[in-house]
């Protein structure tokens, strides 16, 4: 009896064994997350505005573009995820180590500008969505800015990730809103599976903008870092890839229903919109107050979600790439650049929305331009890195994948160049 301390204490032992079995089942939880979160942040305020516009202006006719866009997104994101798992390094570190200081600096500069613009868009989304519910922006915007700061500084990574995963569920509100709009499903099917494109400047601009919104440079940095942070092992990569693929599909399904909702209502009524808030307001008389409220709620959720992720993640990549101390576990005097940059992103992002009379649309346009300029560079760097045998070993891009990836990159670069040309001209 005295020999065995475990005697009579069978419960704790089985508890522990059970826990380790759970741990193996929970492998899923230890790998899944980054892909789905990244994909959903992609449907942020700017994304929702673009999809709403696509639906309002072109009805169901551009739905088919979401299919090739999904394939391109999966192609790019899979490569990013694979690099994260194999090298255990973030994309900004890899760029620094392979391409040196100059490339890194300009990439980071463009990333900061682009994401500052995105952050402004998110706070504008917060202001717009809550104004629909009667909350003035001078309350909503500072409150969300403080919330974002607190969530990141006070919360632990695991809790924050859970909150983010839960936030992903609320994107369902767009799918419900899509059904509430009572679309003509036959027309929807035609728009989805039969590609048609009017070769007019507005239609081409819309397609290019859809691509640009869906495949954004920051996603590659965020996804790769999130995967590294999770410590996904090479053996578990198939699960991680599944996470990424499912995430990409979910993103575009949500996008699909946003286009659908606006196509079935605003387009039919012949309306035009500029922002996502316009869309939510326009839905009210056409699809009822529930669809409108769901739309506004989805926008709020997406904006807060993205506002929590973008400024912080940008700060991380910049500091890591330039070799500055980073991390919310560091004191302010240990990591001065880190805190200064993070505070700047939040204060400017929230502050610009509060300033009356500021040309918000111009700022968002500027950020879209920065995104557009950045994307080709990021994609080319990624392809060079993912094809590098010394770095990736047997996980480098194979010949066929390389070919498809370079071709896709070529198309994306041409489309982005076209978008830049069109936006700068118009």
């Amino acid at each position: 009896m005295a020999e065995s301390p475990a005697a009579g204490r069978a419960t704790p032992r089985s508890v522990r064994l059970l826990r380790s079995r759970w741990a193996r089942l929970a492998l899923v939880a230890s790998v899944v997350g980054p892909g789905i979160i990244t994909a959903n942040v992609d449907n942020d305020a700017g994304g929702i505005a673009t999809y709403s516009q696509a639906g309002a202006d072109f009805g169901y006719t551009l739905l088919w573009t979401l299919i090739p866009i999904t394939f391109a997104l999966i192609l790019v994101q899979e490569m990013t995820a694979r690099m994260g798992v194999v090298t255990g390094k973030g994309l900004s570190d890899l760029i620094r180590e392979r391409f040196g200081v100059k490339s890194t600096f300009f990439v980071m500069l463009a990333l900061v500008i682009a994401n500052l613009g995105n952050t402004v868009a998110e706070f504008a989304g917060v202001a717009g969505s809550l104004e629909i519910f009667g909350v003035p922006r001078w309350i909503s915007v500072p409150a969300v800015a403080v919330l974002v700061w607190a969530l990141v500084v006070k919360g632990t990574a695991r809790i924050v990730e859970r909150i983010f995963l839960a936030a992903c569920v609320f994107y369902v509100s767009y799918i419900v809103a899509g059904f509430l709009a009572r679309p003509d499903w036959g027309e929807v099917a035609r728009g989805t599976f039969i590609p048609t494109l009017a070769f007019t400047a507005p239609a081409l601009t819309m397609v290019v903008t859809l691509v640009g919104t869906t495949i954004a440079p920051w996603m590659q940095f965020y996804l790769q870092s999130a995967i590294v942070e999770k410590g996904v092992r090479v053996e578990d990569y198939p699960l991680s890839r599944l996470d990424v693929v499912v995430g990409c599909i979910v993103t575009d399904v949500v996008a699909f229903f946003i286009v659908l909702a606006c196509g079935a209502t605003i387009h039919k009524a012949g309306g035009h919109i500029e922002t996502a808030k316009d869309a939510a307001l326009a839905l009210r008389p056409l699809a009822g107050k529930y669809a409108s409220a769901l739309f506004a709620f989805g926008l709020f959720n997406a904006s807060v979600f993205a506002a929590s992720i973008l400024p912080l993640s940008t700060t991380y990549y910049v500091c890591e790439a330039l070799g500055w101390e980073s991390g919310i576990d560091k004191r302010r005097d240990e990591a001065p650049q880190f805190y200064a940059l993070y505070a700047t992103m939040i204060v400017l992002g929230a502050g610009l929305v509060m300033l009356p009379g500021l040309p918000l649309l111009k700022i968002m346009l500027l950020s879209q331009t920065a995104n557009g300029v950045l994307l080709p560079f990021i994609l080319v760097y990624m392809l060079l890195l993912a094809g590098d045998e010394r770095l990736m070993g047997r996980y480098r891009n194979g010949r066929w994948l390389s070919l498809v990836a370079w071709a896709t990159t070529g198309i994306l670069v041409v489309l982005t160049a076209a978008m830049l040309w069109l936006t700068l001209r118009g």
């Binding site: 380790s20 255990g88 040196g100 410590g231």
Partner: protein, 434 residues
């Protein structure tokens, strides 16, 4: 430590060949056109290969890219005639270009050190290398420091003249102009996977002098590959100490980086309760494999701890503690302390065992030291105010420790047999980090 460097010393490559005893930066040399004695263009300098042996590695050769995007060749340093800001001249022409080759003791500086993470063993920090500071003396070029400062970044951007002039006109006394953040190479631990062993051996001593908590932070700050390189090179004791300090997710990753035999050695060296926590988080077959590799006696101890829930007193307790018997005198007890100290992490309290391994009483090291040499342990010891049961929760343990101001608490089974001792550091960790 950031070193003070003469403002005119580094950078600014002179237009005539550099003088003896001069400092220069790697970034000044990289990209220089390489020309033959007759001025014919042979290629571009892309890397320097330095011999890792010795405190300050000597540059032995360089890599030259022959045409744009073309083949890379090796040129021995002896073939270098001299250089200035615009070109590097060789003593002989195309015959100096040899096939690419890397000796096992050589570090390619641009490829494996520049822009990469290193550990500064003096400040116990992870840094990213912005530039390398080279010293030309007696015809030899050696690596003296790595530059981890902001000015190094500016120099790499090619903006140093501009930024310097700007700062000088705004604030002539700015610290930016006078301070280079340089780390002496003797404190630098490069971590590229191909680092020659000779370098790692050299700095191993420096690494094991870093406090385990700092070492844990360094491991957390490094990228995964660099982390594995560093961890594999740590001596077993340092590895065990660091492993106790890092976060649980990282513990698993680090243990995976080791061969099973070394992993088992590290586990043996860890405190048994920490080792048990770590093994409990591993998949069953992996922990069984590691337990089989461990010394049987150590493995048994850990296995016994594995049977308790990790958030209970049983899961937190350490089966190794200071044991005394009641009939010893204070002098003998002190000898016992010395004899047992090697295996025991905390010596604050001694536990007196009676017949059947039952806890008879406790006394502190202080009690033993201040007592008259001939007094007996039996007379010095007192009852412990709060003995624990193995299934007591961490919360309760913390409350008892706070209430009675205890550093360590004994854990007994139903029969009163002493199983192990929980110390407050373990309790704190459980209560704070769950």
């Amino acid at each position: 430590m950031p070193a003070q460097v003469n403002e005119n010393g580094p950078a600014a490559p002179a237009s005539q060949p550099p003088r003896e005893g001069n400092f220069l930066f790697l970034s000044d040399l990289l990209g220089l056109p390489v020309r033959g004695p007759a001025g014919e263009r042979l290629g571009t300098l892309v890397d320097l290969l330095a011999d890792a042996a010795g405190a300050y590695p000597r540059v032995k050769a360089m890599r030259v890219r022959t045409r744009r995007g073309g083949e890379v060749k090796r040129v021995e340093w002896e073939d270098v005639d001299g250089w200035d800001a615009r070109r590097l001249r060789l003593k002989r022409g195309a015959q100096a270009l040899r096939p690419l080759q890397l000796l096992s003791s050589e570090i390619p500086l641009a490829q494996d050190v520049l822009d990469r993470q290193i550990v500064d063993t003096d400040d116990a920090k992870v840094e990213r290398v912005n530039d390398l500071h080279l010293l030309l003396a007696r015809g030899e070029l050696r690596v003296a420091h790595v530059d981890v400062g902001f000015r190094g970044l500016v120099r790499r951007m090619g903006w140093q003249p501009l930024v310097d002039a700007l700062v000088r006109s705004l604030k002539p006394g700015a610290p930016y102009l006078k301070t280079e953040k340089l780390v002496s190479w003797k404190h630098v631990q490069p971590l590229s996977a191909g680092s020659p062993r000779v370098r790692l051996d050299l700095s191993r001593a420096a690494l094991s002098e870093i406090h385990p908590a700092d070492l844990a932070e360094i491991l957390e700050d490094l990228d995964r590959r660099e982390r594995a390189v560093l961890f594999r090179e740590l001596p077993v004791e340092a590895a065990a100490d660091a492993l106790e300090e890092v976060q649980p997710e990282l513990q698993r990753e680090l243990l995976h980086a080791l061969e099973p035999e070394k992993a088992a050695d590290v586990l043996e060296e860890m405190q048994a309760d920490d080792a048990a926590d770590l093994l409990a988080d591993l998949p069953g077959d992996e922990s069984a494999e590691l337990l089989a590799e461990m010394e049987p006696s150590e493995a048994r101890e850990v296995e016994r701890l594995l049977t308790y829930d990790e958030d209970s007193a049983g899961g937190m307790m350490n089966p190794e503690f200071l044991r005394l018997s009641p009939e010893l005198t204070a002098t003998q007890a002190l000898e016992q302390v010395r004899a047992q100290a090697e295996h025991i992490a905390h010596l604050h309290d001694a536990f007196v065992l009676g017949p059947g391994g039952k806890l008879a009483g406790v006394l502190s090291l202080r009690d033993i030291i201040v007592a008259r040499p001939e007094s007996r342990v039996l007379g010095l010891m007192h009852d412990h105010p709060a003995p624990l049961r193995p299934d007591d929760r961490a919360r309760k343990v913390a409350e008892l420790a706070a209430k009675y101001n205890l550093f360590s608490l004994p854990v007994e089974d139903e029969a009163g047999k002493l199983l192990g001792v929980v110390t407050v550091d373990d309790v704190l960790e459980k209560v704070l980090h769950g």
